[in-house]
Structure formats: C-alpha cells, structure tokens
Amino acid sequence: MKRILIAILLGMATPMGAFSQTNYNNVQLPDPEQERKAVELMETIRCVVCQGQSITGSNADLAADMRGMIRERIARGEKPEDIRKWLIQNYGEWVSFKPQMGGNSAPLWLLPLLALAGGVYLARSRFKNRRG
C-alpha cells in the first residue's frame, strides 16, 4: 500500500518543464553502436526511485534523466564500465544489477558451485562401479 502511495505521489509530482535542447532521455543515439553500448549499460543500472526496475524499464523522471546522461556520456566516448563505477561511487553497489566478482559477492558464485560439487558427489554414489 505504501509503495502504491509513493508511486501516486511520484506520478502527481511529474513536472511539466519545457526544455528546448534535444535530450536523449527517450530518444536513441544516432550511432547504433554507441546506442547498443548505452542500452547494455542502462539495462544493468537500477532505477533509484522505483527500486525494482532497471532504468531502461522505468517511467520515473530520474530514470529518464539517467538514460539521457548515460547516452550523452557514451556519445562523448566514455567507457560504459567507467560510468558504472561513477554511479556506484555515487549510489553504492546497490545501483548496479551486475554484482562485481569477488569481495562480498563471492558467495553468489561459490554457493552454486558447492551445490554442483555436492550433487556430483551424491550422484556418483548411485552409479555402478564398472571396474569394481
């Protein structure tokens, strides 16, 4: 319920400002390769207002502004991973949907590996030992 209320407040709070210069919030970059890079990054950046979505799939203003910002920076030749680092520096690890290998996200890879190893061990005991 609280979430809905927030969404409503945000919806009502939509500004009607008019900007004349082209902004890339909802428009693609002319260069398809740059656009591909930008979208690839945007899909992994979490919208800081709506929380559950990436900024590619959000109607929130701040998400739209972040899309515009990312497109502009990519167009200026910045590397996607540098932009990600900058955003992580500003908003914390939380803002990236792509956990970095190692550190406090190591269990994300270790636990499935452990499960697989345990599974292989269990399964091995079910097979006949042909040589034996």
């Binding site: 799939g57 739209a64 956990p99 406090n104 994300l108 697989l116 292989v120």
Partner: protein, 646 residues
C-alpha cells in the same frame, strides 16, 4: 448474512481439517486402526466447506457489499463485473482463501480417487494435508479474516490497483496457486511415505499425477505471467529476474526435477531418498514463493499487496512444515532401503544429469534472489543481483541442460552403448551444424549466448522428435507423446528467447503528428492523438498507421491511461502479431515540446517463447492423461478383463 455464512463455513472447515489430522494420526497407531477409513470423508467435507466459504466471498464482491472491509478496500462499485469477480483473489485475504479452497479440493481428490496406494500411506498423506490446511485456516481466521465487516459502510470503495485490472489477473494467480497446492499434495505423499516407510514404485506412481498436474499449472502460470508482464509493463521485456518472478520459477524448477526423478523411482525403483527430498524442496519453494510475494521483504516490480506482519505468519508455517519434514527426513530416511544402482550411460544416468543441472539452476536462482537480503541482514551492505548475474550463470547451464535433454530420451533404460547413442544423435547434430551455418551466412556476427541458443534449439527440436522415429505412431503411448511435445516446447521457447535477444529492432523517438519512423520491416506513422474517456480512466490515444512494404496499411492504438481510483498512470501497449514476430508500440505522455515519446519494437519470433510454454504444458497434459490411464486405471481394467475371461 452471506459474510457470516462464509465466516462460519471457514470455521467449520478448520474444525474438519483438525479432525482429518487427528483421525489420520490416531488411525496409524495400531490401537485406533478403525479410525483409518473415516479420514477420507472428513477431507471431502472440509473441501466442500472451503468451497462454500470462497463462493460466499465471490458473491460479496459481485454484489459490491461495501459493509465488508475487504470489498470496500479492494473493489469499487463502478468496476467492470469481470474485475469485481477477479478482485476476490486480487488481495491478500481473498488469495489466501483461494489457496485453502484449492488445497481442500486437492485433499478431497486424493481421498476420493487414490486407490493404488496402501491405505496407511494414503491416510498418512491425508493427515499431512490436514495439518497444512489447518495452518492456513488459522492464518485466515486469526490474522486475515476476509469477512470482517465495517461500520459505517463507504459508498463506493477504494478500487483495485489499475495494473491489476486486466484479464491476466483473473487467470494468473489461481493458476499458480493450483500449481503450489499440487506441490503440497506431492509433499503430503512424501510425508505419508516417510511415516510408513513405503517408498517405492507404487508410491511414485501415486504421486506422479499430482506432480504432473502441479507442473502443468506452474508452467501455464509462468507463461501467462510472463506474457502479462510483457504487454502490461510496456517496455518489451518478458522476464526481469524480479524476485516475484523468481519466486514462481523456483517451484517450477524443483517440480521439473521432481517430475524426472519420480520417473526413475517409478520405473527403476531408484533415487528413493532424492525423490522424497525433492518433493519436500518443491513444496518449500512454493511456500517460500508465497512468503516472498506476500511479505514484500524483497523489492519487486510486481508486489502490490504486501504486509510484513502477515509474512511472519507464513514464515512460521513454513518453518513448521518444512522444518518438520526435513527433520522427519533426517530421522527416517536412514531406515528406508536404498534403491537400485545403475550405469552411467543409460536413461537413468541422463535423468540424474537433468536433476543435477536443474537443482544447480535452482540454487543459482535461490541464491541470487536471497543473497541481497542475507548480505544486508548480516553486514548492512546493500547489493543488487539482476539479469546480468542470472543470465550469465543460469543461461549456460540451461543450454547444457538442453543438450542433455536432446540426448536423454534417445538412451535406453539400464544400459546403452555410447557409440549407438552418437549414431542416433547424428541427425540432430547435423541440424545444429546447419543452423550455425545459416546464421553465419544470413545474420552475421551475433552475441554468443543467443547464437548458442538458436543452434541448441535447432538440435533439440530435431532430437525431441527422434523418439518417435521408426515407431508405430498409433501405438506410441500418450506419455511418450507428452514427453516429445514438452521437449519440443522447450526448444521452441529457447528459439524464441534467442531470436528476441539477437534480432529485436528498437526505435525510441519523439514524434510530432504526421511524422514517420521505420522499425524492422515496418514504417509507422503517427496520424493522430486524441483524449478518450474510459469507465474509470481517461487515455491519451495514439492513432498509428503501420505499413510493411507495399502491403495494405493497418492502424494500431497504443494508449497512456490515467486512472482516477486510485490515481495512477499506465501505458497500454499496442501489439500486432504476424507469423514471424510482433510489432510492439507504446506512447508516453510528452514532457517537453519535442513531440510524443514513442517506443517501438519489432521482435522477430518472440511469440515462440510463449508458444513453447503452451507446448510444454500441453505435453504435460498428454502425459498426465496417459499416466492416469495407465497407473491408476490399469488395475481396474485388468480386473475387468479377468472377470470377462472367467
């Protein structure tokens, strides 16, 4: 009156559930053996009472009886009739009532139709069902009574979340719940078998239709939910690795593994402990799913009715049932005789491979979904785990699993020769190679995962039909057809996913009226924008003319809707389906004077994703019919034949 009647029926149903458990538990001890036969009737009565209670709630919603708190807070007298009815389960209390109702029906069905199983195991199963139901009745009666009245009654009611005013709502939650409840029946069978130590082929055959049934509903539920999110959220995505989506995927993964391991148990009397464990895990995933969705402890695009206090109740039930089952497992499984061992290159071997990978994928989804929660609870660090993690870890494993799926059905039970298997795989391998060649020639460089997806899909599609080769199709058992179609469905679905991610064309533009834009093979022109009033919303409606080459143009109407009760904006995407894909248009509300923000996607073969889902469910259905026919009714039929002979 109706509210009171529904409330009373709910109480009586709870009493019956208690009785069902008590009679069953007593009946299992040798002193009260004569209680054994009375357990089944109580299960039937309990289900009838639960149904009455649920019907009462539907009537209250249909009549818009605003003196009932639940109706007042979730419905509105102006709402279309269909959503009034669907509103019954579009909220916490109603959906929990639906849960116990389906649970009751499941128990009654076991009571009435299960005949192959030993009576003690059947009664133990029903007693377990009674306990599960009792917990949920307590939950409803003490902390989420759907029949509470309010005084004074409001005039109109508060309405239903606009995103939920959709045909999808009428369909999606009940389907998933049927799947969850089906898993609870399989769970109860596992408990019953642990109590009586009766784990063997007969038990596996009794449990199998329930797993199949649950699995069919989960498949339909996930497929429908995915399509619903696809057209409702308006960003062209069909799977977001969102916690709520994962919560529905996890039981499906466990059920799929269980479905395959139970076949090994039924056919070769092996994997006994593992099958029991998987049935417990599958139901625990269903309950964890319900817990995650209802408690709202994880942020999600899809959670609408969250309440942490109620989450506590579900968590306690979860801890009691699953914790109890795991403890029972640890105590009892040592005394269950180990099943047969088998050769590595054999059908059993392939099914173990399937279980190994499915379980690992399940762990990946579980860890990825819950790790942020665990990390924040222990260190306070906030972390996000999203599509990049799941795609890169679960994606390759799913593709390896697909390869196993191609080979598995071509292996013989007990023992097979590797060389012979390779020969049988010649055509599928050839087809996969051909697909690689075609993609290389006509498409050019593609991202690696979609490319491998397309290639594997081609191979699996061919291999999945292979078990029918050189067979008399009329005498092929129905469940073999089921397997073939379900596996083909997987190939079709994977092909759709790969095609969508490799070939989608996107155009995000700000358009003035009269402007045109190309996307894929289509030219889209914004012809007009108008305001359209709806029953409880008003919409910005875009009239868009779409033309492909020289063919006749057609018109599409994406809308941006503004709802009044409660106030909210949603985009209604317009989707045109062609044989080779979908054109997806969305209009937004302009924020400046550069034009109307319009999003367009041409998604080649995206429909295969859901078509594959439907095929998988259809395969399950054929299998279910075949299994019921063979496992449950074979006994009667051979009995009848003997009579005729005599």
């Amino acid at each position: 009156m109706i509210a009171e009647a529904g409330h009373a029926a709910l109480w009586l149903a709870a009493v019956m559930a208690l009785l069902q458990f008590t009679l069953g538990a007593l009946g299992l001890s040798s002193r009260f053996k004569n209680f054994l036969p009375s357990t089944a009737p109580t299960a039937v009565v309990q289900s009838v009472l639960a149904c009455i209670s649920f019907i009462c709630l539907i009537i209250l919603f249909v009549r818009s009886d605003m003196s009932v708190l639940l109706v007042a807070t979730n419905s509105h007298s102006d709402k279309p009739m269909m959503y009034k009815i669907a509103g019954t389960w579009g909220n916490h209390e109603g959906s929990m009532l639906l849960w116990v109702t389906i649970l009751g029906i499941g128990g009654a069905t076991v009571a009435l139709f299960e005949r192959a199983l030993d009576i003690r195991t059947k009664v133990a199963t029903l007693a377990a069902q009674g306990v599960i139901a009792l917990g949920f009745y307590a939950f409803l009666l003490f902390s989420s009574n759907p029949f509470t009245r309010i005084n004074p009654a409001p005039a109109n009611g508060q309405g239903l979340n606009p995103l939920l005013q959709d045909p999808g709502l009428a369909f999606h939650p009940p389907t998933l719940y049927m799947g969850y409840v089906g898993m609870s029946v399989a769970f109860s069978f596992a408990i019953g078998a642990l109590v009586t130590r009766d784990v063997g082929p007969a038990f596996a055959r009794a449990m199998r239709p329930w797993i199949l049934g649950a699995w069919i509903f989960l498949t339909i539920g996930i497929t429908a939910g995915s399509y619903w999110a696809y057209y409702e959220l308006g960003w062209g995505g069909w799977w977001f690795w969102d916690p709520v989506e994962n919560a529905s995927l996890m039981p499906w993964l466990a059920a799929t593994a269980l479905l395959h391991s139970v076949t090994v148990l039924a056919t070769r009397d092996s994997l006994r402990a593992w099958t029991i464990m998987l049935s417990v895990v599958a139901f625990s995933m269903s309950m964890i799913g319900t817990f995650l969705v209802r408690s709202g402890i994880l942020t999600s695009v899809h959670s609408f009715a969250v309440d942490p206090t109620r989450g506590g109740f579900i968590l306690i039930l979860l801890a009691l049932y699953i914790g109890g089952a795991m403890a029972l497992f640890a105590l009892r499984i040592g005394t269950v005789r180990e099943g047969n061992r088998f050769e590595a290159v054999s059908r059993e071997g392939a099914l173990v491979f399937n279980n190994l990978l499915l379980s690992t994928i399940l762990v990946v989804v579980l860890v990825g979904t819950l790790y942020p929660l665990a990390l924040e609870a222990t260190t306070g660090t906030k972390l996000s785990v999203g599509a990049p993690y799941f795609n890169s870890v679960a994606g390759p494993m799913a593709l390896i699993l697909m390869v196993g799926m191609a080979v598995g059905p071509l292996l013989k039970w007990r023992y097979d020769k590797s060389k012979a298997v390779l020969e049988r795989m010649a055509v599928p391998i050839l087809l996969a190679a051909l697909a690689t060649l075609l993609i290389a020639i006509f498409v050019g460089p593609t991202a690696i995962l979609p490319l491998v997806g397309l290639v594997v899909a081609a191979g699996v599609a061919a291999a999945s039909i292979a078990p029918l080769w050189k067979r008399n199709l009329r005498r092929t058992p129905l469940f073999t057809w089921g397997m073939v179609i379900a596996h083909l469905g997987c190939a079709v679905s994977i092909a759709g996913m790969a095609a969508d991610s490799a070939f989608t064309k996107e155009a995000l533009v700000a358009m003035q009226i009269g402007q045109s834009q190309k996307v894929g093979p289509y030219t889209v022109t914004l012809k007009n924008i108008s305001e359209i009033p709806g029953p409880n919303w008003s919409a910005l409606d875009a009239e868009m003319v779409v033309q492909k080459g020289d063919s006749a143009p057609f018109i599409m109407h994406p809308q941006s809707r503004t709802f009044r009760d409660p106030p909210m904006e949603t985009s209604e995407s317009a989707i045109a389906t062609a044989w080779n894909g979908q054109l997806y248009l969305v209009v937004g509300i302009p924020t400046d004077n550069s034009g109307y923000p319009i999003r367009m996607w041409w998604k080649p073969f995206v429909t295969l994703i859901w078509l594959g889902g439907i095929l998988i469910a259809l395969g399950g259905l054929l299998s279910l019919i075949g299994r019921i026919d063979r496992d449950l009714f074979r006994g009667f039929r051979s009995f009848g034949r003997k009579e005729k002979l005599a």
